[in-house]
Amino acid sequence: MNTTRSEGDASLLEVQHVRKVYSSGGTEFEAIRDLDFRVSDGEFLCIVGPSGAGKTTLLRCIGGLLDVTSGSVSLAGARVTSPPEGMAIVFQEYGRSLFPWLTVRQNVELPLREKKVPATRRAELVSDALEAVGLAHVPDSYPWQLSGGMQQRVAIARAVAYQPRILLMDEPFAAVDAQTRAELEDLVFSLWKSLQVTVVFVTHDIDEAIYLGQRVLVLSNSPTSVLEDVPIPLPKARDQLRTRSLPEFNELRQKIHRLVQTAKRTMIT
């Protein structure tokens, strides 16, 4: 990282009146109507919404993988038009995001090679990242020899080793079992605390969003806009059992659940 971290409230990511219309042939489909929000440096933001709410489209726009139709996305003041420096994405489809012809170590190392990190530093970053996700024992395995949860850990290690300022996660745990999911949530939460990275986490799981986020952005049905921006005033130390059984947690869950239900019912035209 070459930029020093700025003071508390400075926003790192700015999404300004983003609109996204897909057009193919003669038909147009408005996926995102108007999205406008900021993410502070070091924040953990969760984005929830009904399925088909354009969450993935939004994340790809933020990541510079998709062009916006109008409006703008800026990261650290610079407008995003292609994947920016200092950003890593963890996809839901870990099996397709990892390269099957490379070992775990090589998968994690490849982006660092591309970033021209010197070999000794690279080896350090790779082993630290694998250690951090609990995979120090399988560097020479191939991803497909590992379980789904472990594969997603590899993808997370790859992102961590890259030392991003901002980490985008697109429903990363939608394809793993509940047990693994809880473990991975705690892993991501502890990584966020220790690395002080900014996280934008897209999910359809309301509980997951409340458990992880400092703030939850509730999206409307497609064409998407922000329904509500819900702050999560839970203690910073999270525990799968204790946090989830707090009365505040329950209230937030009900509130957001109602919002999502309304979003499903009302088609905004």
Partner: protein, 276 residues
């Protein structure tokens, strides 16, 4: 997919004995076939002048193998086949990667490729003879032409097969175009390239023998015609058998290569999955 160790062991054992059974059956079949080949002319079912008993063919083959000229001929055939294959591979892979990576080039060349590809290579024999006479290069032209399309078509499909998520991953980590080509497109296309190699190697051998046979460029194929005109029927069959054995060797070789290169691919890795 993890079986208890004991069970896994017995599965492997069962697989081993099944493989042995298949091998034994295969061998029995071959032996029976050879016996029929031996018996049919001896019983007078066909004229031995057209089909000598198998033992006579083997004797002729032994006599040939004892002469240095035979090995020169074999070398010429293998050399022609291999040279043609390599030229077609290099050209097919390079052009395929280039055409496949750029959408507009792909669209611009599509109709031309679809027109040139179905032309049977043997239709070019007159052209080859005009250009190079009965030289080895005549046959080489046929071999390269036929093999090139096999490889090109495979590489083109391979380059198209890059997973969109893998592509987005590469883009999000800001891989340069050349890195994407090397670390993503090439490995994705590799299984297709290997299929191209396997098909191409067989087609190249067919065209090599055809070229020698029809054009008369030096090699096993030419020897088949020469033995036939000289009335040495057993020797002619001996060369046919040599050509067949070459085909078997080419097939085995390419399969072995495929297994080595594609350790990670779903078609090969089945037996090692789930056992970290």
């Amino acid at each position: 997919m993890t079986l208890p160790l004991a069970q896994r062991g017995s599965t492997r054992l069962r697989a081993g004995s099944a493989r042995r059974r298949v091998a034994i059956r295969g061998l029995t079949g071959t032996l029976l076939f050879v016996l029929i080949l031996e018996a049919v002319p001896r019983l007078g079912l066909v004229n031995p002048a057209y089909l000598p008993p198998f033992s006579e063919i083997m004797v002729a083959l032994g006599a040939q193998a004892a002469t240095p000229a035979f090995w020169t001929l074999l070398g010429q055939t293998v050399f022609g086949w291999f040279t043609g294959l390599i030229i077609a591979l290099v050209a097919g892979i390079a052009l395929g990667m280039f055409i496949g990576s750029l959408k507009w080039v792909r669209e611009a060349t599509h109709s031309t490729i679809e027109f040139l590809r179905p032309i049977p290579s043997v239709a070019l024999i007159p052209l080859a003879v005009i250009l190079f006479g009965t030289d080895m290069r005549s046959t080489l032209l046929l071999v390269v032409y036929a093999t090139f399309w096999q490889v090109l078509i495979q590489v083109l499909s391979g380059v198209q097969d890059v997973d969109p998520i893998a592509r987005e991953t590469a883009r999000s980590y800001r891989f340069r175009p050349l890195t994407q080509l090397r670390s993503l497109v090439w490995p994705t296309a590799l299984p297709y390239v290997m299929t191209g190699v396997r098909l191409g190697a067989s087609v190249a051998l067919i065209l090599e023998i055809t070229g020698e046979l029809v054009i008369g460029s030096p090699g096993i194929g030419k020897q088949i015609v020469l033995s036939q005109t000289a009335g040495q029927v057993a020797t002619m069959y001996a060369f046919v058998i040599v050509a067949g054995m070459l085909g078997v060797a080419v097939n085995l070789g390419t399969r072995l290569l495929e297994r080595r290169v594609l350790r990670w691919h779903t078609s090969i890795r089945r037996d090692q999955e789930g056992s970290p």
